[in-house]
């Protein structure tokens, strides 16, 4: 059965900061363009999760008058702290000794989900057609191999793939140019990077998993505008990670933890490290007496400059963290993602008006401040592969003395799925039981995400080899999926002494960690039925 087709000048896949910025910029440059933007979440913002301390540089360029509009950017950063945590103590690092990239006094504490909702309103007012609840499930190609567009997911299939009464076939969206803006580890972006060898000659991409909780805390503990970061406990010195605590308005704090997915110990549970972190006296005193109101997690890009793939290909562009534009030492990616979207828009405009090739994106990108930022930041993350102390010393020299201009570039040596050591060679980690006041289990956490996938649909977490988890991964790595998944999608169950690998796909919050960290790359995340996944509010 042939599917319905809709044609546009530009098809944008993903309603995050990069996709929305691209859409807005395109309409500003040429209001005649027909643009559609697809979003897999049930509404714009519902799959967005970010710290977020927002640098306004890209937005200042995109919508110069945003301060006069009713934007959700309200809370200015007023105070900053950086703490090194020991098990029971903490050492405050003077802010004047922080590299410039880690200073935030001009930035704002925002909810990126709300910013995206607002950007979507701006885009719709300009005439962009936004379709939430429609995942792009497949890339369409022309006969010459160039990208033709995307197909949306079929709806109403049962778990065996048969058509239910409510079956609604996906449709083909054809774009003169297609822009992929799916965010970190986009499942189409991943295919395009392979097909067009966009990462040829680049270091393997590096990822982290980021957790976030929103707490409503007692007034006496709340300091609106306060931004705090920590490093150290509970992670060991060889695991890269740290926390953020942002005091937003309405007595809320955004509390989060990021752990590099290049960790080596398969017994490590990122979720439990985050929960344990909250029990540190310096953190507990902030949230004690408060209430956790939101939870979520999402993989993020950490590879930066060395791992950034080529962002153009015939018929399409790859932007934001679908490519990997996050600035790791700055712990910010929203402004760089937006800027990459704006550069994409300018490229497409010249492509249409002046018949220039999409490859002009590269030069435009190189001449932009994003490139300069990522270049200067490039050596920070790899230096932490030497451990926390050496990483800090090197970063101090690199960022404060040389301002990122050292005459060499450190390499990322391994992809994150290659770094796990066998389980029997690594120490087991005993995590304390949740107290349900400060710390929680995964079950009560996933409940806060509002996650649901319609029953009786094909499992969207595909195993290349269904027997591998029990036959190999359990034996060698104690099946780390049980621990790296932030919502407990993966379980090893014992049924009459037969071990079984269970995938509770209904709980999946689309973080993509399994697709990244599975040691044999045996798990592939594909798009579920539209509208599935978390329903984040102001994350």
């Amino acid at each position: 059965m042939s599917r319905e087709t809709m044609e546009y000048d530009v098809v944008i896949v993903g309603g995050g900061p990069s996709g929305l910025a691209a859409a807005i910029r395109l309409k500003q440059l040429n209001s005649e363009l027909n643009i559609c933007l697809l979003e897999k979440a049930s509404e714009i913002g519902a799959h967005i999760l970010s710290g977020n301390v927002f640098e306004t540089r890209a937005l200042d360029e995109l919508i110069p008058g945003w301060r006069e509009l009713d934007s959700p950017i309200k809370t200015k950063v007023t105070k900053e702290r950086f703490l090194f945590l020991g098990k029971n103590n903490s050492l405050s690092w003077p802010t004047w000794l922080l590299p410039a990239v880690q200073k935030n006094h001009k930035n704002y504490i925002i909810s990126l989900a709300n910013l995206c909702r607002w950007l979507a309103e701006q885009a719709e007012a300009l005439g962009v057609e936004i379709f939430p609840g429609f995942p792009a499930s497949e890339v369409l190609y022309n006969d010459d191999g160039s990208v033709k567009g995307v197909a949306t997911q079929d709806m109403g299939l049962d778990k065996e793939g048969n058509k239910k009464d409510s079956y609604e076939p996906g449709i083909d969206l054809i774009g003169k140019v297609t822009v992929f803006a799916e965010g970190c580890r986009g499942h189409l972006g991943k295919q395009l990077i392979n097909k067009f060898e966009l990462d040829k000659g680049k270091d393997p991409q590096q990822y982290g998993i980021g957790f976030k909780e929103i707490w409503e805390i007692e007034e006496k503990n709340h300091e609106e505008g306060m931004v705090m970061h920590t490093a150290g406990w509970p992670l060991d010195k060889n695991t890269y990670g740290g926390s953020f605590i942002y005091h937003a308005d309405n007595k809320q704090v955004f509390l989060g933890y990021v752990i590099g997915l290049d960790y080596k110990n398969p017994h490590l549970s990122p979720f439990d490290e985050f929960q344990r972190f909250k029990t540190h006296p310096a953190i507990r005193k902030i949230i004690e007496g408060g209430k956790r109101i939101s939870y979520g997690a999402r993989a993020l890009i950490e590879g930066g400059f060395q791992s950034l793939p080529k962002m153009f290909m015939p018929g399409a562009l790859l932007i934001g963290c679908d490519a990997g534009t996050l600035n790791m030492p700055k712990i910010k990616g929203s402004h760089t993602a937006m800027k990459s979207g704006m550069i994409a828009a300018e490229t497409i405009d010249e492509h249409f008006k002046l018949k220039k090739d999409l490859s002009i994106f590269e030069e435009k990108f190189k001449n932009s401040w994003v490139y300069e930022e990522l270049y200067k930041a490039r050596n920070v993350k790899p230096s932490f592969s030497w451990g926390l102390i050496l990483g800090i010393i090197f970063t101090g020299i690199d960022q404060i003395l040389f301002r990122g201009r050292m005459p060499f570039t450190l390499k990322h040596k391994h992809a994150d799925h290659e770094t796990l050591k066998p389980a029997n060679e690594m120490p087991k980690i005993e995590y304390p039981k949740p107290d349900n006041i400060i710390t929680f289990d995964k079950t009560s956490s996933v409940y806060l995400t509002g996650t649901n996938h319609a029953d009786n649909q094909p499992v969207h977490l595909k195993l290349k080899d269904p027997n591998l988890p029990i036959r190999y991964t359990l034996e060698k790595f104690d099946e780390p999926a049980q621990r790296y998944c932030p919502v407990g999608v993966y379980e090893v169950q014992n049924e009459n002494n037969v071990k079984k690998f269970v995938i509770n796909y209904q709980n999946c919050i689309h973080c993509k960690t399994c697709d990244i960290k599975e040691p044999s790359q045996n798990i592939t995340w594909v798009t579920p039925e539209g509208g599935g996944g978390p329903k984040y509010g102001n994350m």
Binding site: E43, G45, S166
Partner: protein, 249 residues
């Protein structure tokens, strides 16, 4: 035959409801809103009847704030022909909704009015019944099957004892159960088409209905947390505890 379907905008059923700190209501800012689930069944049934050639027009009506327009638009995207939005601010009780719907019915003159059996936000389960009384029309509530036979309706109702089948005359009110059907998805081309379908906007105040709330809301609170259970070692202990501690036997 013309079918009017009432749809309500409510907090999405997957969202965990949070009570406002000052106990005046629940948090709705930046919360995902959706169509009340059994209202989706009501729309689906109306569109099915139309697809089968037994109805000529399906009109979707919603009552609420400006944004309830999205709910009407969703109904248009799955097959309703046109929409009506009656704009109101603040809390609006089932009696007021019924009176507003009565005005719409008098104006539109439908043969059937469909709606969900109850809304998942206030769980009142009153609007259909009150509208039936105001119009003096027959009603069939909790419908899990609807058949049109010789200008009459045969409706199967989900009741405590099982299933009850009744026959009612048209015009009639039918409130729909989740078992009635499986609502279809809105396809992309149909969402596009829905953007061009007309939505008539009315103000509640223009309809001459007094919508002042009759109920004073004192306080909204979260249900108390459930205490952890215990394991008893014997039947005797269980009986003893039920008698002396729980005091239920």
């Amino acid at each position: 035959m013309k079918i009017l379907v009432a749809v309500k905008r409510v907090i999405d059923y997957n969202v965990q409801i949070r009570v406002k700190e000052d106990n005046t209501g629940v948090v709705t800012d930046n919360v995902k809103m959706s169509t009340n689930p059994p209202d989706d069944n009501a729309i689906e049934e109306a569109v099915k009847i139309k697809d089968a050639g037994k109805a000529t027009e399906v009109v979707a009506v919603s009552i609420g704030e400006e944004k309830a327009q999205e709910t009407v638009r969703k109904a248009l995207a799955v097959g309703a022909d046109r929409g009506i939005l009656v704009k109101t601010d603040g809390i609006i009780e089932p009696l007021a909704v019924s009176k507003l719907l009565q005005k719409i019915v008098e104006k539109e003159k439908p043969d059937l009015v469909f709606m969900g059996k109850q809304a998942i936000d206030d769980d009142c389960n009153q609007t259909g019944q009150m509208l039936s009384a105001l119009l003096n029309w027959p009603q069939a509530t909790f419908a899990s099957k609807i058949e049109i036979k010789d200008g009459k309706l045969e409706v199967t109702r989900e009741i405590d004892e099982g299933l009850e089948t009744i026959e009612i005359n048209v015009p009639a009110i039918v409130t729909c159960d989740l078992r009635l059907n499986e609502p279809r998805y809105a396809s992309l081309p149909n969402i596009m088409k829905a953007k061009k379908k007309p939505i008539e906007q009315l103000n509640a105040s223009d309809l001459g209905v007094d919508i002042t709330p009759r109920i004073e809301q004192v306080k909204v609170e979260e249900p108390p947390k459930r205490k952890a259970g215990i394991k008893v070692s014997s039947v005797a202990e269980l009986v003893q505890k039920l008698k002396n501690e729980a005091k239920v036997i």
